[in-house]
Symmetry: C2
Subunit: 416 residues, 2 copies
């Protein structure tokens, strides 16, 4: 056991217990002070970040990677804004739900309280430190940050800034800490500290998530890939379907709520697909179709079984023609990553069947899958988007960083 | 990979998708038909059970174990009643919560849907098959039962009965199935089938739970031990404290919500403890005290560090005198299994501090910890009592066998 790491985690646990006692004003004040601290230490932060960028260039990291890594002034402003956005959110801690009197005379309800200590394992973007810490501080959780090695100088500086803000606000600075070792071994050790860490959240590629799931003794909230579908029903408003299917694929193809497979009812396929293709052609979307699709769109590539399972994150789209809503739902429940899936239809019964039977975190009628997002859903900031079924499906906001314990108010009741 | 087991699990997954489409009346009808089936096949059931009992006696199993294993007529009646109790419960599937319109004009809410496929790993009591299946059928989940080898004949017969009821009701019989292999290897294989099983619930001793946690790639809901406390505050009504502390220890010591450690404020200890002891003496509770306790109760054993961490499940009690509410909370948050903990006090501020700061699934004021139970809490039947923080704390009822997915109703919205 890595004793230095263990001692750090134990301190975070102790600090998390102190945070529970802090009122909302004090937590908000800490967030405001962190924002001030970012502003006044902007120079140090950019300097730390430039070391990471320099190292990255020497290691030959891709331009896309270096772009994510860079803390531009605009991104630093974004972090300051993110802190103020979280200040504006309602504090979920202490909310009491469902208080009822039961036959024994006990009054029983549930009180939302922090999860405890959260370990978050993430890659590249150093802004994550601030986004995550703002949410965990407000929800009175302790957090252990474990970012990628390429951003370590930026992450360390941001952690110093956060600690300094906490301290100035009179809150325990160890409520937020960072794992300085950036090897996989330290992650493995972290994943075994079940006596002190309550939840692990991996944010990153599938390899990272698999590694965490396979090594963790602590409950994991998976933030996984998005293989999202749009189904154009036989009763769709085809103009609306064109707009939605275009938006879901093209507006920002590299994100998890972008569409990867378009399903089309065979009754409207021959009218719809050529129009759809001419839209996609304008921005050079590569199309791959099932056999039936190839009969309508003759000059596109065939789609293989592998395509249905692929998150392209790019201007590539697989298309399948189905003969019924049932077949569309079957396809989605088989190949979807249970993230976000949409139907376009004007038929009431079909819309309800889709909402009930599609087993995904977000089921849409007549809207683009691109809306799956904490801000768009009205939660404010988010820790990520959960692909699992326990505790939280979809965007994980402040409230999802708490769980509900029972409180029981009696006047001397005993069990007989 | 055990292919027979995998094929079975795949069938349960497919059946669970069919259950989602079934209305409440159909699911209730299945439960009623299972009850009828138990009644008409009582003879077969008792015969199968007698084989298990005979094998158990030959293996030299303890009387307590054989008692738990036996399906007496009273217990069979109990299973029939359990089915009718679940019929009476509100169906949680499809409930829509928090439907709101967001700025984009989308209407967004959350719909409760089944978790999917649940694997339950349990020991001894065959009644668990019916208790569990009634809840999973009503909540439209598929379930894989994996009981102990000593009850295998009873469990197999009960599974046949359940399947027969499902079939007669026109529901998929594979919505409930059982793992026939009773070696640990089959559990290990089950725990890796993450593509088909959504949740694993181990119910049993600490060894079983540790084994499951260490081998599972699937999210686990732990049903763990109960190291429960009662704290008698300096402002307690001491007559009430006597009643509650007696009930929490003595009424049924072998269950998880029984008290294992009594904490007493030093200001009232010398008045309270001798009276308390004379009550415990009547039923021969063995007391073990901290140094301060030993000065008041001179003829009891000393408690060691190990005692604070022990779930006796017996007429044994450790007692510690604390000098403040803070010290009591600190003790509880350090040694409690985060199950059920109580304060006895007439002081408002202390009661609120206890409710907020004690990090347990059920926090009581002025009532016995023995009330932590699905029925007493008004949930009806329960799958068990969760010791973890994600998804559900405390009694896990029908509602906790569902999770909430987002449904998003639009009229052509796209993201810009």
């Amino acid at each position: 056991m890595n004793n230095i790491l263990l001692q750090k985690v134990i301190k975070v646990k102790a600090a998390s217990r102190l945070l529970v006692k802090s009122d909302t004003a004090k937590k908000n004040n800490a967030l405001a002070l962190i924002a001030t601290e970012i502003q006044s230490r902007r120079g140090d932060l950019r300097k730390a970040n430039s070391i990471d960028l320099q190292n990255g260039r020497e290691k030959g990291l891709s331009e896309a990677f270096l772009d994510r890594l860079e803390l531009t002034d605009k991104r630093i402003d974004g972090m300051i804004k993110a802190l103020h956005d979280v200040i504006a959110l309602k504090d979920p801690v202490g909310e009491i739900i469902g208080m009822n009197t039961v036959p024994s005379g006990l009054r029983i309800g549930q009180m939302r309280m922090p999860l405890g200590v959260i370990a978050i394992i993430f890659e590249s973007r150093p802004n994550v430190c601030i986004e995550v810490a703002s949410l965990t501080i407000k929800s009175a959780n302790g957090v252990i940050l474990r970012g990628g090695s390429d951003a370590i100088n930026s992450n360390l500086e941001l952690t110093r800034i956060i600690k300094s803000g906490l301290k100035k606000a009179g809150l325990p600075e160890f409520a937020v800490d960072i794992v300085e070792d950036t090897d996989r071994e330290s992650v493995k050790e972290l994943l075994r500290m079940r006596d002190y860490i309550d939840v692990v959240i991996p944010r990153g590629g599938l390899n990272l998530i698999r590694f965490v799931e396979e090594n963790s003794l602590i409950p994991v909230i998976r933030h996984d890939q998005g293989i999202c579908h749009v189904f154009v029903d036989e009763y769709a408003d085809l103009d609306m379907a064109l707009k939605i299917a275009y938006n879901a694929k093209v507006q920002r193809p590299a994100v998890c709520n972008a569409m990867e497979t378009l399903l089309v009812h065979e009754k409207i396929a021959s009218g719809f697909l050529p129009r759809m293709k001419s839209e996609y052609d304008k921005v050079k979307v590569e199309l791959r179709g099932c056999d039936k699709t190839l009969k309508i769109l003759k000059d596109i590539k065939p789609a293989t079984e592998e395509d249905w399972k692929t998150e392209y994150l790019d201007l590539i789209l697989s298309i399948r023609i189905v003969d019924s809503l049932d077949e569309a739902i079957e396809h989605i429940n088989t190949y979807s990553s249970h993230h976000s899936d949409a139907i376009v239809t004007e038929n009431y019964t079909n819309s309800q069947q889709f909402l009930i039977e599609v087993d995904s975190a977000a089921c849409f009628v007549n809207a683009s899958t691109r809306f799956t997002d904490g801000n768009e859903f009205g939660l404010g900031a988010e820790m990520g988007i959960s692909n699992q079924k326990l505790h939280v499906r979809g965007p994980m906001g402040l409230r999802e960083l708490t769980s509900a314990k029972y409180i029981v108010l009696g006047n001397g009741q005993i069990r007989t």
